[in-house]
Amino acid sequence: MNNPLHSKKAEWFVTVPGFVWLALFFAVPAVIVLAFTFHGHDASGGVGEWSLSTWKELVDPDYPAIVWNTIRISFKITVWSILLAIPCAYAIARMNKKWRAIVAGSIMLPFWTSFVVRVFAWKTMLHPDGWLQSCYLAWLKTSEWLFSWLPSAMQNFFIKIGMASAEPVSSATSTILDSEAAVVLVSVYSFIPFAIMPIYTAAEKFDFSLLEAARDLGAKNFYAFCRIFLPGVRQGVVSAILLVFIPAIGSYVIPQMLGGTDCILIGNKIFMRAIQNRNIPHASALATLMAVSVLLPLGLAIWWKSRQDARGKRRIEERSARFAASGRGSHA
C-alpha cells in the first residue's frame, strides 16, 4: 500500500510516545524490583551489595505466614463475592431491557464516590458502639449455637469460609472493627460489582428457555440452575473470580484501615518494608512473591480457556464430520 499512514515512519511516530513511557515507567521498574531482590540492604535505608541474603531471609516464619494469610483471605473474599454475584447476575439477566440497564448502571454508580471515603464510612459504621457491631455479635452467637449441632468436619468448613468463628464468642474480644471479618466484609463490598458484571454479561447471552426445557423434563429448579445455568455462564464466572481474586491479593488500603494488627497482608508488609523500615530489598522480594501469586491463577485461567476452546472446536469438528458422513450415507 502506498498510503503514507502505513509507512514505517508513521508507525514509529505513533508507537514511540506510549511505548517509551510504559517501557520506562512500567517495564524498567519491574526489572529493577527483580534486581533489588538479589541485593542485601544497608543500614542507611539504601541498597547494598549483590547477594542472596534477601531470599534467604524470606524463610523467616513471618513471611510465609503472611503470604498464606493473604491467599486465604483473598479466597474467602472471592467465594463470598461469587456466591452473592451469581444470583444477582441471574436476577438482572431475567429482567426486561429497560430495568437491566437501570440496575446494571446502579451497580456501578457507587464507584463515583471516593473509594477511601467509602472505606472510611465503613470504619465509622463498624465502630464498637455501633449497631453493626451488635448485629455481628448476634450473628456470631447464633452461628456458634447453630454450628454446635453440626458434625465437626462441617464446622471446620464453615470456620474456613468465615461463616463461623473458631474462638468462643464474647463481646469484649469479638469486635468487628480491626478484625479479619471487617476486611472480608468491606472487600466484598468493594469488589462485588466486578464479580456481578462479567457473570451478568455471560448470563445475558444465556438462553433461558433451556431452563424451562429442563423443568419440563422434570428437573427441580435448583438442579436445573446448577446443571444448566452455571455451566452456561462458566466463562463469566472465571473472569469474575480473576477480577476479584487479583485485586484481593493486592489489597492494601482496606486491611490497613480496618484490619488492625490482626490482619496484615502482603500489601501491608510491602508498604511497611518500603516506607517505614526502608528495607528496599525485602519490599522487592515480597512484591515478587505477590506478582507470582497473581500470575499463577491468571496463567491457569488462560490455560483452562484455551483447553475449553480447543475442546469446543474438536467437538464441532467431530460432529460436523459425523454429520457429513451420515449425510453421505443417506444420499448413497
Binding site: 508507537t15 457507587p110 464516590t113 471515603v117 464510612a121 465503613w122 470504619k123 459504621m125 463490598y189 518500603a274
Partner: protein, 274 residues
C-alpha cells in the same frame, strides 16, 4: 412462568449493601457532632442537621487548609495526567490498531499488563525506580505514576472505539489529497473523540481516586485527597468536611458523566448521519 424470588431478594440486599455507605457519606456531611460521628446525643435525642461544614469548606477556613490543599492537588494531578494519558493512550491505540508486527505485539503486552497487575505492584516498582535513579518523591513523581496507570485504560477504550472505525474514510481522505496531519485532525480525531472522552473520564476518575500507588510515590508531606483521608484517624476534628468534599465530588462526577453522555451520544448521531 414463576420467577425465582430468591435471586431477586439477593439482588435487592446487595444493592442495599452497596448504597448504605454512599447514603451515609452524604448524611455525614450534615452531622452536627464531628467527634462522636453520631446523629444522636448522649441521651439518645436526635440532634438534627447542620450546614456548618459546608460553610467551612466554602469560606476557606484555616482549619481545613491542609485538607483543601490535598483536594486541589488531587484535582491538578488528575487534570494533567488525564490530558497526558489521553495523548499517549490515543497514539498507542492508533498504533495497535493499524499495525500487526512484532513491535506491536510487545507494545500490546506493555499496554495490557498494567491493567491486570495489582496497583500496589505498580506503586512499589515506581518507587524502586525513583530510589534507583535517586529522584526525590513529590509532585512530579505522583504525576508520572498517575499517567503510567491511566495510559492503558485510555488506550484500551480508544482501541475498542477503533474496532468500529471504517479505515476506508482515511483512505478516502488521502485520495482526496489530505496530508497525514490534516486527515488526523479533520477525519480521525472527530470520529475517535467520543472514545477519547470516555477514556479520559475513566482516567480522571481513576486518578482522583487512587490511593495505593500515590501512597508509595508521594514522599513526605505531599498528600492527595485520598492519601490524606487514609492517613486520618477517626477522631480528627474536621472529619465531616471530608464527607462534604466527597459529596461535592460525587455531584461533580455525575454532572461530568451526564454531560459526556450527551456529547458522545450527539456525536454518534452526527457521525451516523454523515
Amino acid at each position: 412462568m414463576k420467577r425465582s424470588m430468591f435471586s431477586v431478594v439477593v439482588l435487592i440486599s446487595v444493592l442495599a449493601f452497596l448504597y448504605v455507605p454512599i447514603i451515609l457519606v452524604i448524611a455525614y456531611g450534615f452531622i452536627p457532632n464531628g467527634i462522636t460521628m453520631s446523629f444522636f446525643d448522649s441521651q439518645g435525642n436526635f440532634t438534627g442537621f447542620t450546614l456548618k461544614w459546608y460553610e467551612k469548606i466554602f469560606s476557606g477556613d484555616y482549619s481545613v487548609k491542609s485538607l483543601m490543599q490535598s483536594f486541589w492537588l488531587s484535582l491538578t494531578v488528575a487534570g494533567i495526567s488525564t490530558l497526558v494519558s489521553c495523548v499517549l493512550g490515543t497514539t498507542s491505540a492508533l498504533a495497535l490498531h493499524r499495525w500487526r508486527d512484532r513491535l506491536q505485539t510487545i507494545h500490546h503486552a506493555l499496554v495490557y499488563t498494567p491493567l491486570i497487575m495489582p496497583d500496589i505492584l505498580i506503586g512499589i516498582s515506581l518507587l524502586m525506580l525513583f530510589v534507583a535513579v535517586r529522584i526525590e518523591c513529590g509532585f512530579w513523581t505522583i504525576l508520572i505514576a498517575h499517567v503510567t496507570f491511566c495510559v492503558s485504560y485510555v488506550a484500551m477504550t480508544v482501541l475498542a472505539r477503533l474496532q468500529d472505525f471504517d479505515d476506508r474514510i482515511t483512505e478516502a481522505a488521502f485520495d482526496l489529497g489530505a496530508g497525514p496531519w490534516y486527515s488526523f485532525f479533520h477525519v480521525e480525531l472527530p470520529v475517535l473523540l467520543p472514545g477519547i472522552i470516555t477514556g479520559g473520564l475513566l482516567a480522571f476518575t481513576l486518578s482522583i481516586d487512587d490511593v495505593v500507588i500515590t501512597s508509595f510515590v508521594n514522599g513526605a508531606g505531599t498528600n492527595t485527597f485520598p492519601t490524606y483521608v487514609s492517613s486520618m484517624t477517626k477522631h480528627s476534628r474536621n472529619l465531616p468536611c471530608v464527607f462534604v468534599l466527597s459529596t461535592l465530588m460525587l455531584i461533580f462526577t455525575c454532572v461530568m458523566v451526564g454531560i459526556s453522555k450527551i456529547i458522545t451520544g450527539r456525536m454518534q448521531v452526527t457521525t451516523q448521519h454523515k
